[in-house]
Symmetry: C2
Subunit: 337 residues, 2 copies
């Protein structure tokens, strides 16, 4: 059996159950494998959050399509987004770089400038790292953050009757990626913001902190693989179902326009395009206005109700034009495409 | 200018000084870039230690020469060694794996078993990770540990007059690597322990903790690049010189025997072979017996005095057969070989 036969999530499942862990190794582990970050009890007033994300040339990026400054920003943003999804504050980063020896030093410096600038925007800094040579460029970032005890946003607390909310808009990153692949002019005013959303997503760190501070959210996750997959992770962890209303998905005018030009379904981009790095939050429906107000006040970003949490037995559905369609996990799997 | 033109340490120097960091990002950073691990103040009774190390196929290992179980153990050991060099206790690990899709699932599972087993031996566990596809196998491990405040072993405290001590023996890993490359029988009783030292080094975690508990060491580092390079890092950080006595280097009988068979200089293996993952410690000479006793009692491992710390202006020298030779940093550089 090969890795491609079981895919990314199949492999994660096998790995997570593979090795019996000595009980002393679990000391301090509040959350281990299976959320946006691990949460660790280090004895102080905050829980420590820890996440890692690898970017491999030819898989996650192509050198001819993204400049190193943006690649650095993007790599930082992907990790910052995970800290945001836990309601935490990013603090310290470790960077592993594997680089072809003939790479220009200026390229590496720009990559690092982008990384440090994006981390710095959110109060975090690089405190260590590691360099190696390689054939493909690999950038692996481990990011640590902190969250007040009792403020941690997890995946596993969604309850039937909760509403499902998302920050910002969906599908823009995928629309930008398809626009680049189709050769649309990246300076076109409809295309430019989508390419920007794709190449340098904005992590919802302050939004996650604002949500956590209300104490009203029951679950949260960042939308990296795509709404349908990531909502599926919340349903798995919380043992609930979900009903999403296609008409309520916040899809921007540019995304709709570019989707129309490329013959793509904007709802499919929003559900399965991935890489939006918005936050999905569940909360009792009575708390939705307070949450929306908290996020808007802190950051100016809107929070949109897109559906509701149902009992697990009710399944996972998308309502569109009066029809109920299965909400399949159609997001990105690294080994299957 | 290309990466290979300035090499690994040149690139690290440029990166470390590249970006002005916002002061708030330095909150809690006790030690940043430039020691075996970062040390972070998380508000509790312990300092948090954080390190990351990447293993790239074709650079750090070859699939035909190391089985995945050993590769996992080795990857864990390299990171555990860094925590040991700070006097810390390993706790939590994050793992990024980039894998060719046609890799056997059993290979990945064995890699993970090796990682988890070696981490578990030292009380640490994998709490998160990330999977990607790639052409080359890449295993990147970030490891967190803890150390009591005031017990941190750093690189920058060596003082003229201190003695230089090392744990265990030197050169065995390099001798094992050369033996494999020369096609010597790995089952040969002289060769087998060297190959074992090369493929699955033993991190000196308990040794580092025993040293730290005495409160007598002035500096420590793990010997990953090679004694001459790593002692050079201590000299740079502490602004001191060093005088090493070749006759006192602890070189095992098998290393000497295999070096003789291969026409290699065992002293060169000890100085520049690298990957021994022993600890180098400096301490006032009056403290050496106490340190040696503490390490021997805790672990059975010997501590050998190999030289002394001198003023920076005195330089860095090796005394061999009555001659003084410059102690050049001839260890591993990823981009230069």
């Amino acid at each position: 059996m090969r890795v491609r036969d079981i895919g990314e999530f199949g492999l994660i499942e096998r790995i997570a159950t593979l090795v019996p862990r000595p009980p002393e190794a679990d000391r301090g582990v509040v959350l281990g494998i299976g959320d946006d970050t691990a949460a660790l009890d280090v004895g102080g007033p905050y829980l420590l959050l820890a996440t890692i994300d690898i970017q491999v040339e030819g898989r996650h990026f192509r050198r001819e399509r993204i400049d190193p400054l943006r690649l650095g920003r993007r790599t930082a943003a992907i990790n910052l987004s995970d800290i945001g999804a836990m309601g935490g504050a990013p603090r310290w980063a470790l960077v592993s770089l594997a680089l072809p020896p003939d790479l220009a030093v200026a390229w590496v410096e720009d990559l690092y400038r982008g990384l440090a600038a994006e981390l710095g925007r959110f109060g975090a800094a690089v405190v260590g790292g590691n360099l190696s040579s390689s054939e493909q460029i690999v950038v692996d970032l481990a990011l640590l953050g902190e969250v007040e005890r009792g403020r941690l946003l997890r995946r596993d607390g969604a309850r039937p009757g909760d509403v499902i909310l998302v920050t910002g808009t969906l599908g823009a990153s995928a629309a930008g990626r398809f626009a680049l692949e189709a050769g649309l002019d990246p300076a076109d005013p409809q295309v430019a913001p989508l390419v920007e959303a794709h190449l340098t997503p904005t992590p919802r760190v302050a939004e996650g902190q604002a949500v956590a501070a209300t104490g009203r959210a029951t679950a949260a996750i960042d939308l990296s693989d795509g709404l349908s997959s990531d909502l599926g992770h919340v349903c798995d962890a919380s043992n609930v179902g979900a009903l999403v209303d296609a008409a309520r998905l916040p899809i921007g005018a540019e995304t709709r326009a570019v989707a129309a030009r490329l013959g793509l379904d904007p709802v499919a981009l929003a559900l399965a395009g991935g890489e939006d790095y918005e936050l999905l939050i569940t909360a009792p429906s009575a708390a939705a206005p307070e949450l929306a107000a908290a996020v808007r006040t802190a950051t100016g970003v809107s929070l949109t109700t897109i559906g509701e949490v149902t009992p697990a037995a009710a399944g996972r559905w998308l309502v569109r034009d009066g029809a109920r369609l299965p909400l399949a996990a159609t997001g990105w799997d690294h080994f299957r495409r």
